[in-house]
Symmetry: C2
Subunit: 153 residues, 2 copies
DNA sequence: CTACCTGCAAACTGTTTGCAAACAA
DNA sequence: TTGTTTGCAAACAGTTTGCAGGTAG
């Protein structure tokens, strides 16, 4: 179901600002940082405040419309419609590739077997080095990289 | 090799502050947040400044003596002597369990096969729900959790 | 009408930096 | 002695909050 419909259904108002933010997240097929969303929004409509954007993103996350994950210092957002999946982002050139939901199944199972802990990877964004950048002789040794994920409420 | 020796070998001074920080990291068998390290240090010696602690931790990471990973909003630190390994931390009670190095091997392989990207998981800290807390009826559905890792330079 | 939303400005949090004084070697 | 290291205070960046005025329904 579309985010706009979800908003209205749950009794939230569909303001122009919210509509714009929802549109941007839907139009982007990748993941966006909060900063990118702020820039896109403000390039289309002057005067939309970043706190409005953060508040809208928080709301959309609570409604299950978007995933929010942390990548390094930033949060990144991704619409939740295409279901569970993961990303790898190249450290060097920033290129990103999607990966299937099942990627972490072996890890989930192994963690459960070895420790009894239950973990679930809903939307993980990890950093790596893409084939092209590797061919250029870059190494990922010494690169800091992080992966994070967040449950969809 | 011990952190103190590494420091001296590379021409860095072994000050009381640095010795104290190294001791605390070694004494702790788990992982510590920057804040915990600051608290421990300051409870033993008054007047040690947090910027000194951050600078020392940064240095120790550069020397390969400690790992630094992000867990949510904080960095956490762990001495690097026991080699590669990972952790799961319970969302609810904070209990933590160590996991073997090889945990993410299937993921590393799958990412490489599917995307050509090269990723390496040196020291991942993830959140989950421990058996006891699960038995208490807590669910991890709806919990935000993150895993992050950092390469050891 | 009137809650809900927004813009603004200011607060916040964890981390980082610049600089003069202190100190290890 | 002397260049590294420290403590202090202030900067920083991204995110969050309080509040008065604005607007969707």
């Amino acid at each position: 179901m579309s985010c706009s419909v979800t908003l209205k259904q749950k009794g939230f108002r569909l303001t122009p600002q919210r509509r714009l933010i929802v549109d941007i997240i839907h139009e982007s097929h990748g993941h966006l940082t909060a900063e990118e969303i702020i820039d896109y929004v403000q390039s289309r409509v002057e005067g939309v405040n970043k706190s409005t954007i953060y508040r809208t993103l928080e709301l959309l996350e609570e409604l299950g419309c978007v995933y929010r994950s942390r990548l390094g210092d930033h949060f990144i957002y991704h619409h939740a419609e295409e279901g569970r999946h993961h990303h790898v982002v190249c450290h060097s050139c920033g290129k990103s590739v999607d990966l299937d939901d099942d990627l972490f199944a072996p890890v989930e199972q192994a963690v459960e077997e070895r420790s009894g802990f239950h973990v679930g990877f809903t939307h993980v964004v990890m950093r790596g080095l893409c084939p092209e950048c590797r061919a250029k002789g870059l190494h990922d040794h010494g690169w800091a990289f992080g992966i994070e994920s967040l449950h969809h409420h």
